[in-house]
């Protein structure tokens, strides 16, 4: 296994510049930091919390604390900014779990329970989940053989290991990776097409 530390990330100079500008009090740099890490923070927190409202709370808190600490010069190595942000998000999540999550907040402030968001997924999230499942069905239907379908089922649903599946089905690593890669690529193509189609009527209406 090669050393993961061998090559520095490609934009470490950009990170250093961003940190320097935040330390010097540049509000544009702070907005840039949020923009740069927004997608990743959101992804990580949704994955950890599995609760939209909790993820949203922690998202705001993550950026508030990261900016505060960077401003105060607590980040000594600027190229470690991505790890600093991801670590902050994860630590805030773990802290929230230890404190009992949102439930404790509503217990501590009973009047806030009236406005507590429903932890069930919202309509948009449900619609997206439905659409994703529909696209996955299409991807599966397009597969040329049952074995590829079985590979995906075993890997994603039965949670079996790659090595175990390859051994059972007498597959090479390459074949296995190719099946997963193609399925994901096709999924992405179809999802982007759907997103484009969903956005088109809105832009027509706007124009």
């Amino acid at each position: 296994m090669s050393d993961p530390a061998a090559v520095p990330p490609p934009d470490s100079a950009a990170m250093a510049d961003l940190v320097r500008r935040i330390v010097s009090g540049d509000p544009v740099a702070e907005a840039e930091l949020v923009q740069r890490f927004s997608r990743a923070v959101s992804f990580l927190l949704r994955r950890l919390a599995r609760d939209e409202a909790m993820a949203e709370d922690l998202y705001q808190e993550t950026f508030r604390l990261v900016i505060e600490k960077v401003r105060d010069g607590e980040l000594r190595e600027a190229e470690r900014l991505p790890g600093f942000v991801s670590g902050m998000a994860r630590n805030l999540f773990l802290g929230a779990v230890r404190r009992g999550g949102r439930r404790q907040k509503w217990q501590a402030e009973p009047e806030a329970a009236e406005t507590a968001p429903d932890p069930a997924p919202g309509q948009l999230a449900s619609l997206l989940a439905q659409e994703r499942a529909g696209i996955v069905r299409r991807v599966l239907a397009e597969l040329k053989n049952d074995r590829d379908r079985e590979i995906l089922s075993r890997y994603y649903i039965a949670d079996q290991d790659k090595e175990e599946i390859c051994r059972d089905l007498d597959l090479s690593d390459l074949h296995f990776n190719r099946v997963l890669f193609r399925a994901r690529q096709r999924y992405r193509e179809l999802f982007e097409k759907w997103q484009g189609a969903a956005a088109a009527p809105q832009s027509q209406a706007a124009g």
């Binding site: 994703r132 597969l143 949670d159």
Partner: protein, 252 residues
Amino acid sequence: MPMDHAYAEEHGLIESYLKDRLSESEREAFEAHYFACEACMEQLEAASDFREGMLRVAAEETARAQVGLLAGLALLSRAHRLALAGALLLLLALPLALLITNRGLERRLAAARIIPAAVPEGEPRIASREQETAAGPQVNLPLFTLAAVRGGEEAGREPVNRVPLAPTTPSAVFTLELAAVDYPSYRASLRDESGKEIWQARDLRPDSRDSLVILLPSRMLPPGLYRLKIEGVKNDRKTFPVAAYPFRVVRP
């Protein structure tokens, strides 16, 4: 520790990350990497979405074939809907149970059963009369809140939890309230009287009321003694016992 893109690709870290198979140090390094790497972020989102979509398809297929739970949801109170949201999560684990209990030759069959035909939504599907009946709306699914045993469990002692299940009842819902949520995820395993594991699921997360809600098909539970064990799973995958829920299934 910074990680480069080639390393992440070469070692298939995206899939390992999504399956929680990385060590803590690898996971930290990969998170720091994808926070800075647009290509990995995109692949990660696509892989995560695809995985979620696969699980949802499996849940839909399982629900259609075995339980009319989704249609029944509309008839339940909001509180029950919240509890059953957790049950839906665990429905995903049912195909896994089928696979685990039928390792070996049945694996191929079980995996194919998870997604029987991959028929696109909206296209006609062939279903047996039994499946059609099972997929219809169902009300009054039995709900059981199990009491935990956290220590001092005496061998041979009759459990306090009694679960009356009629042979005609398709499924039962079990609620397990955890005393505290101290772990990022949990593992559940169900053993029968002989100690044989008949079901297990991992990566479980309690709902907003610190409860795990599990829906089990009745055919998995003939009359007898069972023990449902919950373990907390730390980020380094080490497990710690949390609670055990012994129960006896009886015919009403």
